[in-house]
């Protein structure tokens, strides 16, 4: 589905989260000039239409003890990437799995997986599983552990400065 301008305004209004009040949708309705039932109906449609992947608690992995995060990337031939991506995405520790363009010569990789674990050893074991069990070892790969987090918040799509993409 294609979200309309009102959907966009609604998603921007809740980019920093729903208010933690008894009737959060009524508050959002007041912010956006919509009715409470309209806010609820639109969010339901955005979920059913796949624009909103999920609605609920968004956790912060680092603060919850998942201190190690790696972006693992492979250079997979274009005609094999759909199959490789599906195999990698099937593992519960893979929290995101995307195809992105290569930028040769400095960036030869096109399959991107995000992995969160309690520590580096756990994440390395998970990467070994992907390379072994999932058969990705035959492709060139790199592991990019995260070090400092400079910023993490929901995305905003409004033209004004400032909903919610997760990449790490």
């Amino acid at each position: 589905m294609i979200p309309d301008i009102t959907d966009r305004r609604l998603l921007d209004a809740i980019a920093d989260g729903l208010p933690l009040t008894s009737r959060p949708f009524a508050t959002v309705a007041a912010w956006t000039g919509l009715g409470e039932d309209e806010v609820i109906r639109r969010l339901g449609r955005l979920l059913a239409g796949g624009v909103v992947k999920r609605l609920g608690v968004v956790v912060r992995h680092r603060e919850l003890g998942y201190h190690a995060n790696a972006m693992v990337v492979w250079d997979v031939p274009d005609d094999e990437i759909a199959e490789a991506g599906r195999r990698a995405a099937a593992y519960p520790f893979v929290t995101l799995c995307y195809q992105r363009p290569r930028r040769p010569p400095i960036w030869p990789y096109n399959l991107f997986c995000m992995i969160h674990g309690k520590d580096r050893a756990a994440v390395k074991a998970q990467i070994a599983t992907l390379n072994g069990q999932a058969g990705l070892a035959r492709y060139g790969h790199a592991v990019l552990f995260s070090r400092l987090c400079f910023k993490q918040r929901g995305a905003r799509f409004d033209r004004e400065p400032a909903p919610a993409l997760e990449v790490a």
């Binding site: 809740i14 339901g44 955005l46 609605l55 956790v59 992995h61 992105r100 969160h116 990449v167």
Partner: protein
Amino acid sequence: MRLDAVDKKLLNDFQRGLPLEPRPFARIAETLGLSEHEVLERLADLHDRGAISRVGAVVQPNTVGASTLAAMAVPADRLDEIAAIVNAEPAVNHNYEREHEINLWFVVAAADAAGVRETLRRIERKTGFKVLDLPLEQAFYIDLGFDLR
């Protein structure tokens, strides 16, 4: 961070499927055998302690507006300075240092593709470093939340 059994249930079991009804937290409270007030207090407390970034929507990339993953190779001694320039851009929502020659990784989201391009160009101009633009081409994973158990 100290989390009791109820906190853990709140964090693990409600990452999706927030009830779409006027009092969603009352419904969550019912399933946990708590009062609505207690659920709201605990969520506010988990937010204050940094365990959750929000109770809200996670949007599928490229369904609303446009976004990209961008990256730069920055000398280590200039990383803080360059990261601050990137952070100052309102369209940047995640910004991480990663262990690689290409060491600064950030997500740019805007109303449309032109907005994303403008932000990338401005960052290149202000920092003097080239930005790699790596937009999503295909998603293999449906985000159902993260299992904390």
